[in-house]
């Protein structure tokens, strides 16, 4: 690979809003429930099944309907299914870690497993939102009952108030025994949660 400077780089295509009409027929049930593998296969992802119940809210507290929500997380052993970890013996063959759903009303339920501790990171799920009126925005959700939150470098870079906004609360159990966590993702206004800049690096 030849070293490249900033000026060698091609200019990226502009991101644009997804608009209100992301096709519902592009939905894939396998991406909405990562706590199981394809049906008919004797296989089960490792880890504790959880359900993340979320509400996407706009600055007036109204549900942000029609939002496309994407999830990215490590497996139960804290390993991401990315090229960097290819060949890692802790890869779970039955778990990829990428999820996607369209929150028709603005509420969603994402079934998955509790992500594991990853090096210095507390269990977390990266959430990407594509919604009408905005281009892609990203954040990361934590779990309020995890002790490791106290030493997570991302969480600890935020104020206590902001940390709480990114912490899903454990609220009961589903009929199937999954732990239920709830989170309000306020996109704008008074209770706006922190969103992160994955284009700009510190010091750039």
């Amino acid at each position: 690979m030849k070293p490249s400077t900033q000026s060698d780089l091609l200019k990226p295509t502009n991101e644009d809003t997804v608009g209100p009409y992301f096709p519902i027929n592009f939905s894939d049930p396998l991406l909405e429930d990562l706590s199981r593998f394809e049906s008919g296969i004797t296989a089960q992802p490792q880890g504790i099944p959880i359900i993340l119940k979320g509400r996407l809210l706009d600055r007036f507290g109204e549900l942000a309907n029609g939002t496309l929500v994407e999830f990215w997380q490590a497996n139960a052993k804290g390993v991401y299914r990315s090229p960097k970890h290819e060949g890692d013996s802790d890869i779970d063959p039955w778990f990829w870690g990428y999820g996607r759903l369209r929150a028709e009303s603005g509420e969603f339920e994402f079934k998955t497993i509790m992500p594991g501790l990853c090096a210095d990171r507390a269990p977390n799920i990266t959430i990407t939102l594509f919604s009408d009126g905005i281009s892609r925005i990203v954040t990361q959700i934590f779990f309020a009952d995890q002790e490791s939150n106290a030493s997570d470098p991302l969480l600890q870079s935020l104020s206590g108030e902001d940390q709480a906004k990114l912490s899903a609360r454990h609220e009961g159990q589903s009929d199937c025994g999954s732990k239920i966590y709830t989170i309000d993702i306020v996109m704008a206004g008074e209770n706006e949660i922190p969103f992160f800049d994955d284009l700009i690096r510190e010091g750039e």
Binding site: T13, F26, R59, S82, Y98, G133, S135, S157, I200
Partner: protein, 222 residues
């Protein structure tokens, strides 16, 4: 030197943008946490054989109304490396400006022969091609007479690449007043397709749209 992230802007005259755009500056990600922000999308193979031809609902059905076009281009990253086997999810309004989406409640007519959604994959050199009907513009804000210019939605995913964008058409009168185009400023030009002639195939004309996926996933650029 920056010690905070970008300030997102609200699309002018776009009510939804006003409702949903974060007001606080984006936060910087500590270096140690960057990798966790770069999703790696698994390969998905969900495309029917005829989906590349959106000018008809299925291969055995008639053509939809309007002007049939080919859209093609190369998908690459900022370093010019082609991105192969990525999925493009495509959706657009019909010739009249109506989506066949259950939530599009406008009075604009549907076209019985137009579905308006399709999926294609890039080949080993990062090239993609699909046919569709040149979409109609539609009135987005009747109260102020603002139209959404002709556009085709394209969502790119595969491996470290993730992008949702829109392809616009050259010389369209409504391009200049589009809220997102206004925010893009001079960069808007890169989202406008370049016309080409298509004498040998069964469409009216072609539109070239090379797509460059930006740098947020630099972790995985080989």
């Amino acid at each position: 030197m920056s010690n905070s992230g970008r300030q997102l802007e609200i699309g002018p005259t776009d009510n939804t943008s006003d409702q949903r755009t974060p007001r606080n500056r984006l936060r910087l990600i500590p270096e140690i946490a960057r990798e966790s922000f770069a999703p790696y999308v698994p390969q998905r193979g969900l495309s029917r054989q005829n989906e590349w031809d959106m000018t008809r609902i299925a291969a055995d059905l008639p053509r939809a109304q309007g002007i049939a076009i080919e859209v093609s281009g190369k998908l690459q990253n900022e370093r010019g490396t082609p991105i192969s086997n990525a999925m493009l999810e495509i959706w657009s309004a019909n010739h009249f400006g109506r989506y066949r989406h259950i939530e599009d409640h406008s009075n604009i007519p549907l076209d019985e022969h137009f579905l308006g959604t399709g999926r294609v994959f890039t080949d080993s050199e990062g090239n993609y091609t699909f046919w569709t009907i040149s979409p109609g513009a539609y009135l987005a804000r009747p109260d102020i007479g603002r139209w959404r210019p002709k556009h085709i939605h394209i969502s790119v995913s595969g491996g470290g690449s993730r992008l949702i964008t829109q392809l616009y058409f050259p010389d369209e009168p409504n391009n200049a007043s589009d809220p997102m185009a206004i925010l893009m400023g001079d960069d808007f030009e890169r989202n406008i397709g370049k016309p080409y002639e298509t004498p040998k195939i069964d469409v009216d004309s072609g539109l070239n749209f090379d797509i460059v996926v930006g740098g947020r996933n630099a972790v995985y650029f080989e």
